[in-house]
Amino acid sequence: MSNVITVGMADYKTSKTPDILMTAGLGSCIGICIHDPVEKVGGMAHIMLPSSNGNPGANQAKYADTAIELLIQDILRLGAHKIRLRAKIAGGAQMFSFPGKTNVLKIGDRNAEAVEAELKRFGIPLLVTDVGGSFGRTIHFDVGTGDLKVRTINHGEKVI
């Protein structure tokens, strides 16, 4: 029996096949999904901001630069091999546009950049991304197959 495990905002979870990890309503946040396709274990983090600036406070799962390390450690504890880990990410939208605001400060884009840099730092290949746009996403990640289902309200549904 496969369970659907919910990952909240500023939260991360790991599990093994046949479980599905789910996070609902990603806006400018990013869902980071990492798994080992041979060991069939994986995890998902729902980060909110790019950087803790060295002061993550009580919840390290909130930031790209602290959450990904935690997520990887926990996946390795389930028996994964670091060399086989691979990632998919989704989210990083801009839900509102305010007239006169420059694009430089878009938090969704900054989140995506920070996540990509962090995955690179750990040498984990990023297979596919579904980021940007101006719409929310709900994602389901099959930790066994690595299939990532992305559902939106008005922009369809796909598996990446």
Binding site: G25, M48, L49, A93, R151
Partner: protein
């Protein structure tokens, strides 16, 4: 910051007076009776925001107004899609179907509703606390409630560990439901409580 019981009561009273004025403004606009719940004050960690706004991927029409002036905060209205449609139909005096996602007239009507309600909320708050507050230009998004809320929370690019919500449910007859949330930022919270002498 730690919030005492007296301060919680004061915040609930802020919510009560402000939201009462906002509900009255909506009622006058629609010529319908609008009821509101007793406001709740929540300090919620991010993992649990679902407990305040419900299912994070339910589509809702959300009007967001930044609060500026001597104190800063965020005012947010959540309307379920059916309620948003009924609202606009009542404003336009029609029962035609409304395209909330793309029709600019419909969207600007919803923003105006938010604008009027937040202005009333802030006027009440200003006369209550003596702190001058102004609404910014309203923004609208029609999408997953959680996705919109995260964008609002993250707009400034920084966060505390939990969010303080002053939360009021609105209901109108017939079939209008909505939720009004006021999020004072931390400095403003101190200022507001200080002005009330707690």
């Amino acid at each position: 910051m730690e919030i005492s019981q007296i301060q919680l009561d004061a915040l609930r009273e802020i919510g009560n007076i402000g939201s009462g004025h906002a509900a009255t403004a909506l009622s006058a606009l629609l010529q319908r009776r609008i009821d509101m719940s007793v406001p709740e004050v929540w300090a919620v960690p991010f993992e649990n925001v679902e407990s305040v706004i419900g299912q994070l991927d339910t589509p809702q029409a959300v009007v967001y107004v930044k609060v500026e002036g001597d104190a800063h905060g965020k005012a947010v209205f959540f309307f379920p899609l059916e309620s948003a449609e009924i609202l606009v139909q009542a404003l336009f005096g029609t029962d035609q179907q409304m395209d909330l996602f793309a029709d600019e007239m419909v969207q600007s009507a919803l923003k105006e509703v938010g604008n009027i309600m937040v202005s009333s909320f802030l006027m009440a708050l200003t006369s209550f606390s003596g702190i001058p507050l102004q609404p910014s230009v309203p923004a609208l998004a029609v999408d997953m409630a959680g996705a919109i809320l995260d964008a609002i929370l993250l707009e400034d690019g920084s966060l505390d560990d939990s969010v303080l919500f002053i939360d009021t449910q609105l209901s109108g007859i017939p079939q209008i439901e909505g939720q009004f949330i006021f999020l004072p930022n931390e400095g403003s919270l101190k200022k507001l409580l200080g002005a009330l002498g707690v």
